[in-house]
Symmetry: C2
């Protein structure tokens, strides 16, 4: 199977919204009037972002999911993506499973593959995603205000727990391992919640490097600090219902685990009922975990108000 047959068989689909899709030098796209583009790129490397044993269907899903998560974090509606894929060989079984996972998620979000590149080399999946947002309604990291509430969506720490289990540093019951693994390998981008928070959230980011690190980006961009209630994060780990996770491991996974692809966002306290209602209509739980402060530090507080030592670090590819 040659390169063009590979593209034709596994990747070429009829252009839906694109004026020109796969098959020319460029894809041609007409932007929606009154909208800005939101664009993001993420690259997944074997051994770094996924294990060689990963199910290719899950890899196809996750490769797009982490990109859609960036769009959600800006409140942008997904529109299209480009895929650059380096493969050791043209393996039909692998490609079939990979594209099933990829296109199932793409179709669920009406996000169209419009172009890309295939080449031979070490397994590497690079996606650039394009979304649209009404002019001046993108939710940036820089808008958090002193007094705003801090929220996170969904569940945190389970992906890191799965990684620790695969590394052998923790032993989990089978049910907890399966749930944690699915959180690691099949994250669900919070697109509906992200889009619904336009005009509501003052700042937002997605959680890929860990809560403290990614919230830290919001604080730095907004030139504010935050008080986070340690009690509020106790129930964020989904697998916690299935086994007795030691407290220090739970805190480490939730606060700095990474790979969560949930949203952290800030809102004026008056929006609390509205946020709850959006959470329900999107089917995505949200938890209020703290408050934005003028003190430019990120502090963790116990229930009686004491500041806890912060020994957590976020993920860094080169440190």
């Amino acid at each position: 199977m040659g390169e063009f047959e590979l593209i034709e068989r596994f990747f070429k689909r009829a252009a839906l919204q694109a004026d020109v899709g796969i098959g020319d030098d460029c894809a041609i796209w007409t932007p929606s009037p009154g909208h800005q583009l939101a664009m993001s790129a993420d690259m997944l490397v074997e051994g770094r972002h996924f294990l060689s044993t990963v199910n290719p269907r899950d890899l196809g899903h996750k490769s797009l999911a982490v990109n859609l998560s960036d769009l959600a974090a800006c409140g942008a509606t997904p529109r299209a993506f480009l895929l650059s894929l380096s493969l050791p060989r043209a393996d039909e079984v692998w490609l079939s499973a990979f594209t099933q996972g990829l296109f199932a998620l793409a179709d669920a979000h009406a996000c169209e593959l419009i172009g890309g590149d295939t080449t031979q080399g070490p397994l590497n999946v690079a996606i650039t995603v394009m979304g649209e947002v009404p002019v001046h309604q993108a939710i940036l990291r820089s808008g958090a205000q002193v007094g705003d509430d801090v929220y996170v969506s969904g569940h945190l720490g389970d992906a890191r727990l799965a990684l620790e289990a695969f590394r052998g540093t923790v032993s989990l019951p089978q049910s907890a391992l399966e749930l944690a693994r699915s959180r690691m390998e099949r994250p669900e981008p919070r697109t509906a919640l992200g889009v619904s928070l336009r005009g509501v959230a003052t700042a937002m980011a997605d959680l890929s490097d860990g809560l403290l690190g990614d919230l830290g980006h919001i604080l730095k961009s907004s030139r504010v600090g935050a008080d986070i209630q340690i009690a509020a994060i106790q129930n964020l780990m989904l697998t916690r219902g299935l086994w007795a996770c030691p407290q220090d491991l739970l805190q480490r996974c939730v606060l700095s685990g990474g790979d969560d692809y949930e949203l952290v966002f800030t809102c004026h306290p008056s929006q609390h009922p509205h946020v709850q209602s959006l959470s329900e209509s999107c089917g995505t739980p949200v938890t209020r975990i703290g408050r934005i402060t003028s003190d430019p530090r990120l502090l963790l507080r116990s229930e009686d108000g004491d500041v806890l030592a912060n020994t957590f670090t976020s993920f860094d590819h080169f440190s």
Copy 2:
């Protein structure tokens, strides 16, 4: 040096045309009124697209050049790009040279880095480029008409000649090797020519896999054939003035060498003087090499009109 310091030191620059550049979850971009977007992605893998001995400055240049070449092939004006970079390690000397080559070309084309990703892994450079073209003026592969002239820009075959020299299958004089190597490692995207051909060329593609293969894409998309004059391609190899290239090697390099990043395009014969004048104003030579036919084959003809056997194949990553 950590990941965020790496981005800050080597890649973050003030946003020029972007509403939001590097540093949020997405880049935010306002499209120009009355324009469509043209988007393309290319991935360069060590050992496959470049040798491990490549000068990182040249690699930075070439990684963007091959993407700009795709925009040129649609007649699109470069606007912005996203870079996903997998690096074995954060090497400051390497990064400094790579970004010098990258940004020199980006600045020359007013094409702004608006986002991307950095990760640790085997050396891999994936770029997605975005350009703009006035509505319905993109030059596609599908527009060639029977009777149109076929042109190529610049020079062909030298990049492949350099590759053969590095492989040891041919021995070149030093001056020819240096010239061929610079054609391989520092291709110049034909942006000015591509943009100026809007409304003039009926079809266009860039030459990355070899003339016969890439012209073949135009013929297939346009459902036509072509007669190519073998005499017209004799002088396309730039290094030919520096050594006596054997005729069979010259033809192989020019017709199916690949890695040229020139343009192949078709125009109504009445446009010939106009094409010549655009070529002069852009400072890019063009050569008329044949004509579009209704016979859906790509035929090579000798000066006395005989059809030559076509034994040339174009580059394919998986065959």
